[in-house]
C-alpha cells in the first residue's frame, strides 16, 4: 500500500482509531494484522518469504541467547545471517550476478547455462532483512534480550510504518515500545499528523513534480542538451531527497500518532559541508547500520591507513549494492568511497588553502563554498544512481562539461533551454518548490517550526495548515508513483 494512495487514506485512520480503542493486550495483534494487510497489498505471496525469515531469526535469537558455547552462538548467528543474506542473494542479486557472469563468459566464448529467475523483487526486502539482522547481531552481542513473544518479534520486523522503506530500526529502540501502553496524547498525535502532512507535501508536490522532468530526461538522455541534463541532475538530487525523506516523515509521523518514536533518518543532507557530513545526515539509519555492523567489525579506523581505506571502499561498495543490483549502484557506492578517501587525504590541503586565500576567515563564505562543493559531488554521484545504464551515466557526465558554454550562449542570445521536457512555467514551478523546501528547512533548523507556529494566533496556524493540505490536494501530482526506495 502506498502512503500516497486513497487506500492508505482509509487504512491509516481506521487502524489508528482501532489501536486506541482495543485493550492494550490486543494491540500487538491489531498492529501485526494491519502490517500484514499493508504488506500484502503489494504482492500477497511475498509475505511467505518475510514469514520464513521472521521464523528463522526469532528462533536464532532464542538459540543464541540460550547457547553457552561461543562456537554455538556464532553458528546460530551465522545461520540467521545466511538466511537473510540468502534471501537477498536469490531475490535481489542472483540475476545481476548471473548477467555479469554471462557477459564475462561470453568474452571467452563460453555460454552461461544458468537460468534467469523471472520474479519481482519483494518490496522493501533490503530494509526488513537489515532490520532483522540487526536483531540477531544485537542478541549475539548481548545488547538485546531475545524476544520470546513471536507476535512482538514479528511486529518488530513488520511494523507497517517502516516496513518497506525504513528507517531501519534497532531492537533496543523499537521492541520495548510494543509492550508499552500508549495512551492518546493530543500533542503527540498532532505532531505526528503535521509531520505526515509535510512528508506528503515533499512527496507529491515536490518529488513527483520534479519526477515529471527527471523521468523523461534520464529515460532518454541523448535527446537533451547539456543544460537540460544539468537541470535534470539538480532536480533529481531534490527529487530523491524529497521522495525518501517524505516517505520517512510519513512513516515516523504515522508511528508517532500511535505513540511510537522512530529514529530520525534525515537531517538536511544538502546542508552538509563534506561527504562525511553528508552521510551523517542522509539515510542515517542505514549509515549507522553499516558503521556498527560492517565498518567497525572490519577494524574501522583503528587499523593501518591503507587498511582503513580498503574498509571504507568495502562499506561504500556494499552500500551501493544494497541499493540495487546493477553496476550503476556499485559505481555510485564506489564513487562515495573515493570521495570519502580523497576527503580525508585532502583535509589538510583544504584547510591550508582556506587560510592562504583568506576564505577561512570569512566563515559563512567558507561554509557556503563547502556546501556547494559537497552538493555538486553528491549530485554528480546521483547520476549513476538514477541513470538506466553506466553508458547513459557517462554520457550525462560528459555532456555536463558543455553546460557553461551553452549557458553563456543562451545569455548572449537572450534565449532559454529549448528542449526542456516541460514548459518554462512548469520548470519555474519546480524551482519555486525547491526554494520553498530550502527556506522551510532553513527556518526549521534555526527554530523548530512547530514551536514557531504554536506561538501564532489560531487563524495564522490554521492558515498555514490549510495552505499545505490544499497544496497537496490541488498542486500535488497523483499518478500512483511509488517511492523510489521501495525498489530496494
Amino acid at each position: 500500500m502506498l502512503f500516497n494512495s486513497l487506500a492508505f487514506l482509509i487504512f491509516f485512520p481506521v487502524v489508528t482509531l482501532l489501536y486506541f480503542l482495543v485493550p492494550h493486550a490486543l494491540r500487538w495483534g491489531l498492529l501485526l494484522f494491519a502490517s500484514c494487510f499493508f504488506y500484502m497489498f503489494f504482492k500477497p505471496e511475498y509475505i511467505l518469504i518475510l514469514g520464513a525469515t521472521i521464523f528463522i531469526d526469532y528462533w536464532a535469537g532464542i538459540l543464541i541467547e540460550g547457547a553457552t558455547e561461543p562456537g554455538k552462538r556464532k553458528r546460530y548467528l551465522s545461520l540467521s545471517i545466511i538466511a537473510n543474506v540468502g534471501v537477498l542473494a536469490v531475490f535481489k542479486y542472483y540475476n545481476f550476478f548471473n548477467n555479469s557472469v554471462s557477459g564475462l563468459a561470453l568474452l571467452f566464448g563460453v555460454k552461461n547455462m544458468l537460468p534467469v529467475l523471472k520474479m519481482a523483487l519483494p518490496i522493501g526486502l533490503s530494509f526488513h532483512t537489515f532490520q532483522a539482522m540487526s536483531y540477531t547481531i544485537e542478541v549475539y552481542r548481548g545488547k538485546q534480550k531475545a524476544e520470546r513473544h513471536f507476535g512482538i518479534y514479528s511486529l518488530y520486523v513488520m511494523f507497517y510504518p517502516q516496513l518497506v522503506a525504513g528507517p531501519i530500526e534497532r531492537p533496543q529502540n523499537l521492541i520495548h515500545q510494543f509492550r508499552e501502553k500508549h495512551s492518546f496524547d493530543y500533542d503527540m498525535v498532532m505532531s505526528g499528523l503535521k509531520l505526515m502532512m509535510w512528508g506528503m507535501f515533499k512527496k507529491v508536490v515536490i518529488a513527483d513534480r520534479l519526477a515529471l522532468v527527471t523521468d523523461r530526461v534520464f529515460g532518454n538522455p541523448h535527446k537533451y542538451s547539456a543544460t537540460t541534463l544539468g537541470i535534470a541532475v539538480v532536480f533529481f538530487a531534490f527529487q530523491i531527497y524529497c521522495d525518501f525523506s517524505g516517505y520517512c516523515d510519513i512513516a515516523i509521523g504515522s508511528a508517532r500518532v500511535m505513540g511510537f518514536k522512530l529514529m530520525r533518518n534525515f537531517n538536511r543532507p544538502y546542508a552538509a559541508i563534506s561527504i562525511a557530513d553528508f552521510w551523517r545526515r542522509w539515510h542515517i539509519s542505514l549509515s549507522g547500520w553499516f558503521r556498527d555492523y560492517l565498518y567497525i567489525p572490519l577494524g574501522g579506523s583503528r587499523v593501518s591507513i591503507p587498511r582503513m581505506y580498503v574498509n571504507i571502499m568495502i562499506v561504500f561498495i556494499i552500500s551501493g549494492l544494497w541499493h540495487g543490483a546493477n553496476w550503476t549502484f556499485v559505481i555510485w557506492g564506489a564513487l562515495y568511497g573515493v570521495y570519502y578517501i580523497i576527503g580525508i587525504i585532502a583535509r589538510k590541503i583544504r584547510s591550508n588553502s582556506a587560510i592562504f586565500t583568506g576564505i577561512g576567515k570569512i566563515s559563512w563564505l567558507d561554509k557556503t563554498l563547502q556546501i556547494i562543493a559537497t552538493f555538486t559531488l553528491v549530485s554528480l554521484a546521483w547520476v549513476f544512481f538514477r541513470a538506466n545504464s553506466v553508458a547513459d551515466a557517462w554520457y550525462i557526465l560528459q555532456s555536463l562539461l558543455s553546460v557553461p558554454g551553452e549557458v553563456a550562449r543562451m545569455v548572449l542570445h537572450h534565449s532559454f533551454v529549448s528542449d526542456a521536457p516541460t514548459s518554462p512555467f512548469k520548470l519555474l514551478e519546480c524551482v519555486l518548490v525547491i526554494i520553498l523546501l530550502e527556506v522551510v528547512q532553513y527556518v526549521h533548523a534555526q527554530k523548530n517550526i512547530n514551536t514557531l507556529l504554536a506561538a501564532q494566533p489560531r487563524y495564522l496556524r490554521w492558515g498555514v495548515y490549510y495552505a499545505v493540505v490544499l497544496a497537496i490536494i490541488y498542486f500535488g501530482i497523483f499518478e500512483n508513483r511509488e517511492f523510489i526506495y521501495f525498489q530496494f
Binding site: 492518546f184 493530543y186 490554521w462 490541488y474 498542486f475 500535488g476 497523483f478
Partner: protein, 314 residues
C-alpha cells in the same frame, strides 16, 4: 480524543462550502467558455448545433475542414466535431452523445487516418469532460476507457482541476463574463503555421517504414458505427484528408488500411473519398507537418471537398 476529533472535523468541514462554491463557479464558467477543450462540448450539450452535415474525426478533421466553406458551397448547416489527438472509439462516442442532445444530421463526413484504429484504450484528453462530470451520460460513455474518471475526480471539489491553473482561471473569468474570445469557427481550428520540420526530424530518427497495429476493438467499433448510422438514416462519407506525400512511404500497411475504408462501401453504403495522395500533398506549403494542413491548405482542401461532396449529397 474528543477535543482532537472536534478540531479535525472542524478543520475539514470549514473549507468545504468555499471549495464546492469555487467548483460550481469553475464548472459553470467552463460550460460557457470558448476554451479549446470545451467550446464544442458546450455547443453539443446545450443542443445548439443541430447541423445538417457533421464533420467528425481526429485533429485531421478539426484542422483540415472548414465548415464555413462547406456551408457556402453546399448550402447546408455544417459543424466540425473533430477531436484533437483522438482514436476512433471516442469519436464514435461523441457522435452518440451528440445525437442525445441534437437532431440527427443528414450526413457525416468521417475523416480517417492511418492511426484511427491504433491500439489505445484511453479517452485521449481527460480534461475535455471536466465541467460535465455530474452528467451521467458522460460517465456512462467514458466508463469503458482506462483513464475514466475516479470517484475523487467526480465528487471531491476541484480535485479534477488538480494542477490545471489556466483552466481554473478561464472558468472563473468566463463565469464573470470575461472568458476568452472564440478561437474556432463552428468547431474548425485553423492553423496559421508554416512547415515545422517535425517530420524531417522523425525520419532522421526512424528512416524506415513502420506498420500501424490495428486494434480489433476499434475496428469493430468502426463497423458498428457505420451500421448505427445506416440504421439512423445518416449517410456517412469516409474522407481521408491529404497527407504530405513523402509520409506515405513510411507507413507500411497504408494500402491495407485504405482498403478497409474502400471495402465499407458495399456493406454499409458509405462513400470513400481518398485524398491521401492528392495533388495538394505534393507541396509543403499546404502543411505544417506531415499529417496536418495549415490554414491555406485547409481552405483549398475544403473547397475541393465541397465540390466532390456536391454530387453525393443530392
Amino acid at each position: 480524543m474528543k477535543r482532537f476529533i472536534i478540531r479535525i472535523l472542524l478543520f475539514m468541514i470549514l473549507p468545504i462550502p468555499l471549495l464546492y462554491g469555487l467548483n460550481y463557479i469553475v464548472d459553470k464558467g467552463l460550460q460557457r467558455s470558448n476554451y479549446i477543450y470545451y467550446s464544442e462540448w458546450n455547443d453539443l450539450f446545450a443542443g445548439k448545433i443541430n447541423a445538417d452535415l457533421l464533420i467528425c474525426g481526429s485533429s485531421r478533421a478539426l484542422q483540415d475542414i472548414s465548415p464555413a466553406i462547406l456551408d457556402t458551397s453546399l448550402g447546408l448547416n455544417t459543424y466540425n466535431l473533430g477531436m484533437d489527438g483522438t482514436h476512433f472509439s471516442i469519436q464514435y462516442d461523441r457522435v452518440k452523445m451528440y445525437l442525445l442532445y441534437n437532431k440527427a444530421p443528414k450526413y457525416i463526413v468521417q475523416t480517417m487516418d492511418f492511426t484511427s484504429f491504433a491500439e489505445r484504450n484511453s479517452m485521449d484528453n481527460q480534461l475535455q469532460f471536466m465541467p460535465y462530470l455530474s452528467n451521467p451520460i458522460v460517465i456512462e460513455y467514458t466508463a469503458k476507457y482506462k483513464d475514466h474518471y475516479s470517484w475523487s475526480e467526480r465528487y471531491f471539489p476541484l480535485f479534477k482541476y488538480n494542477n490545471q491553473w489556466p483552466i481554473i482561471e478561464e472558468g472563473v473569468k468566463s463565469y464573470l463574463g470575461h472568458g476568452m474570445p472564440p478561437i474556432k469557427i463552428k468547431g474548425y481550428f485553423a492553423q496559421n503555421k508554416k512547415w515545422d520540420y517535425t517530420f524531417d526530424r522523425y525520419i532522421q530518427r526512424v528512416p524506415y517504414p513502420v506498420g500501424v497495429h490495428l486494434a480489433g476493438y476499434s475496428l469493430n467499433r468502426f463497423y458498428d458505427y457505420l451500421a448505427f448510422c445506416n440504421k439512423k438514416g445518416i449517410k456517412v462519407i469516409i474522407v481521408f484528408p491529404p497527407v504530405y506525400y513523402e509520409f506515405l512511404r513510411y507507413c507500411k500497411n497504408r494500402d491495407y488500411i485504405l482498403g478497409i475504408f474502400r471495402n465499407c462501401q458495399a456493406k454499409y453504403g458509405t462513400t470513400f473519398l481518398d485524398y491521401s495522395n492528392d495533388e495538394l500533398s505534393r507541396s509543403r506549403d499546404n502543411f505544417y507537418n506531415s499529417q496536418h494542413l495549415n490554414k491555406g491548405g485547409a481552405e483549398i482542401f475544403s473547397s475541393k471537398l465541397a465540390n466532390d461532396l456536391k454530387p453525393l449529397l443530392k
